[in-house]
């Protein structure tokens, strides 16, 4: 009898494999966001993980890793820039190209972290519902927030039959900025709206996304699933201690790429019965 119990026990133990990682030391944290037709400057950054067991007290920038980018059967070692952990191509004008596959390898303390991204194809903004909207001045910010439906909106249509993920960035591009809302909280004055990634073909902007009169650019970024996964898991729950999803093997962080299309619209001060307020 006991023989059989022992046998069951051994069979059970043989199945008893749980995915437990070994202790992470010298973990590299990759912040790699590559944009098509832009140089790499300030877009690939390496920082360290503060290790409790090593008694570390500070997160450090990593400036001495060997960083190599692979693309088109080529490989190129990136060079560190300054002391903040940034790396770039030796030719600072070299740009990221749409549709290509880029791999990164980071050799740090004999531990090689790897990640891959395929640069998405360029998105296309098909149309904006309005290229000019009118908003009265002398409106309290909180009043607008409470009655948001009473204020202008803009619909942005994308060519997106394949349900790619996009996010929007809305930015006032006037050199001299003129605030729309009364009592705008000081924290909102440098506001740039960046939306969550979405697979929709029509995205909407409401008046709460505009803080200033004048010309705005709307940039639609097409993003990969790796970015969506990382974005959606960016908040760490104290109960589950989930970490943001990473596509970096033997490392942390994210290595991804974006392509974008840009359109413009203007927010104009609306003439009231009282006349134009200056």
């Amino acid at each position: 009898m006991w023989k059989y119990i022992a046998l069951i026990y051994l069979v059970f133990l043989a199945c008893n494999e749980v995915g437990i990682d070994e202790s992470d030391k010298h973990n590299v944290v990759v912040t790699g966001y590559m944009y098509v037709n832009r140089p790499l400057t300030d877009n690939i950054r390496l920082t360290s993980m503060l290790s409790y067991s090593a008694g570390e007290t500070k997160i450090e920038n990593i400036n001495d890793a060997k960083v190599t980018i692979f693309y088109d059967d080529l490989s190129e070692e990136l060079v560190p820039q300054g002391t903040k952990g940034f790396y770039t191509f030796a030719d600072p004008n070299k740009k990221i190209e749409s549709g290509k596959t880029y791999k990164i390898e980071i050799d740090y303390y004999d531990k090689i972290a790897k990640a891959t991204t395929i640069v998405p194809e360029k998105p296309r903004i098909a149309s904006l519902s309005d290229t000019e909207i009118f908003i009265e001045d002398s409106i309290d910010f909180m009043e607008m927030m409470q009655n948001l439906n009473d204020y202008p909106k803009i619909k942005i249509k994308l060519d997106n039959n394949s349900a790619y993920y996009h996010y929007l960035l809305i930015e006032n591009i006037e050199t001299k900025k003129e605030v729309i809302w009364l009592n705008l909280p000081s924290g909102m004055r440098d506001y740039i709206y960046i939306s969550s990634p979405s697979q929709k073909s029509e995205l909407r902007l409401s008046s709460r996304h505009f803080m200033y009169y004048g010309k705005h650019q709307v940039i639609a970024f097409r993003v990969n699933k790796e970015y969506v996964d990382a974005y959606e898991s960016r908040y760490q729950s104290p109960s589950t201690l989930n970490e943001p999803v990473s596509n970096v093997d033997k490392g942390l962080g994210l290595f991804t790429s974006f392509d974008a299309d840009t359109a413009f619209f203007t927010v104009t001060r609306k003439t009231t019965d009282k006349g134009i307020n200056f």
Partner: protein, 792 residues
Amino acid sequence: MCKVKLIFIFTFITGLFFTIYSSTYSISGTVKDDQTGEELPYITITVKGKDIKVTTNVDGHFSILDIEEETITLEIKHPSYKTEEVTVDRSKADEKLIVSLQSIDMQELDKMTVRATKGEVVKVSENISQVSLSPSLMEKLPSVGEADICRALQLLPGISGNESSSGLYVRGGTPDQNLILLDGFHIYHVDHFFGFYSAFNVHAIKDVQMYKGGYPAKYGGRNASVVELTGNSGNVQNFNFGGGASFLSADIFFDFPILLDKGSVVIMARRSYTDILQSPLFENIYDLLEDNTLEEGPFSVQMESQPTFHFSDINSKIALRPNDKDIFTTSFYFSRDNLDNSCFGEFEIQNPFGGDPFPGKMSEEELSKWGSWGCSGKWSRQWNKKFYTNLVTAFSDYFKDGRDSMNMVVQMGTIEREMGFTLTEDNNVRDFTVRLDNIIHINQQNDLEIGGEICLLKTVYDLSVAGMMDTTIDEQALLSSGYIQDKWVLANRVTLLPGIRLSYFQESHKFYVEPRASAQIKITDNIRLKSAWGIYNQFINRVSRPDVLRGNGDFWLLSDTDNPLVSNAQHIIAGASFDHQHFLIDIEGYYKILSDLSIFSIISPDIDSEFFLNGEGIARGVDMMIQKKTGKYTGWIGYTLGQVEHTFPGMNRGKSFPADHDITHEIKFFNNFAIKNWDFSATWVYGTGRPYTMPEGQYLNILPNGSVDTIVHVSAMNGKRLPDYHRMDLSVTFKFDIQEKFKTSIGASVFNVYNRKNIWKREFDYVEGELIQTDNIFMGLTPSLFLNFKFR
């Protein structure tokens, strides 16, 4: 002509003779308690010399069909009663048989032969994964102040718990995955005193049936197990009065006959006096849970509190038996915990401009109450020997109301700044159920059960924080289910129980088909092989959120198409048992595939973000129990080798990880020695340490929008284990009669005899470059006393 007449008459008489004497007959009856007249559920009745066994239903009713022998002897066994033998012949076929069982009087134990069954607290059923518990014998078990049904169940292999939870973790399931029925209504909250005691008064419960898995199609709505409790229905013969007291609470009961012995009423109430008299036991438990030091920001506050806490519960049942065929019962249950944990403290805050620190006062009014209540009405009717019906209407309500108002006053020079906020959190579950169960005894080989239920479920969760955030989740749905199952005995050796349950859940607009089957093969009189398979769905979930001092932070939500999902489990169980008159060896292996699990986790600060992670899991293991059933010394050793793994794409990089309640090895050792009026008991429990997640470091997560979050990095989800848990408890009980009609028992228990420092939870804090690890320790050595009496 006369000759022809004679031949005709002879043929007729002979035919009549053969018709009478070669035909079979059937008997039916009820098994009752000799002293109280109460019907006894789930009693096994064996026809001696034949391989026929039947079990009484919840109303104590049984039928045996197609008997060929002129005379048969029935052997009736139950752990709490003396085994009875009754001889029945054909003449009883038209009568309803009443079998009265004498309860086991501890004082008579020594007079009984060693062969007799001497009151087993636990009886492993012949059915797969089914165990019955005798609450009347539960005071034999060592306890922390109160005899406790859930704690007793936790002593069985395959059922885990811990000191801080009366919840049952059955074969890798979580407490909310257990279907708990008391007289037909659902119980959503099973404990008192922050989980230390079960909410069921052991004196109010007559019978407990536990199905650890593979349960039949009759039961539905939960994924892991079924606990079916039958309340005491009272004495139809005499007036009884009794009560008891321990360091924590006192209870009292009355039961008496009504309507010329055609009915009975039982009323029981229990209340803790922890708000009046705070015994060392109360303070031990409360100290374990309480932490009144706030250490956040540039100041720390030592809060002073004098918590006021009490719990109470009431059980009541009325049973009416207007005739031999009908039984009407109504049952009521109420359970509530109240906590006033208001506290006050003074502090100093650093002056940012230098100079003397600013003095401040902080007060917190924290009021909580939680519990549940329910009631049911049942009509049972024996239409004939072959057809029995139960119709139940039931209502159940779970409530948790919490209010926390904090006020802080800081004196900044001549300026007094006052700030405060109020948090309220309420959760309610209500259900109204109509259930019909029919048993059709087709023949000696087939018992067909067919029935269904309609359950209207409603959950409300309301959270309000400082008037800024007000979240209400109010959901209601109808769950309609029907089932059919047939217990089929083949050649008296093989018993099959195939069945199917079909449910429609309004919230998800889907039908759920749940086929189930179990089989037993009798190899010899003592050896049985058994197996079961089934599909199970769960439509309501308790969202787990640790918050010990408000009872718990968990809240119930209905499943829907979005989140939390309707979860699903597939059970595969196989085992064998060797059941000897004096001892039992039972072993079962199980494999459970769990899907559409939901874990509450705010993983994105977006307003429209998901609050749940969805994943799947596997629970597998082997349960083994060796039990000595007879003699002065009785007891068992239970061993479980188990593993529960979860896989959630958003956690642990998508790799599987041990669930929070994963325990690899568990050993439970129960010993009882009964001599004359004394009962000595000892338990020893051992369990592999529970898993926990060890933080290894932290890093910055920088997004293109410029947001920077500090993320704590963990090596692996639940990748570490707490030290192993073990503990020994002892108890002694002495029973004596002050008068013939005045019976008493007095006892003492010592919990954690060798004062083992078992770790409840491990917490971490990162302070000035150092990771501080804090272990919260479970209760150390804790003695307690109890007294029970009964006047008849």
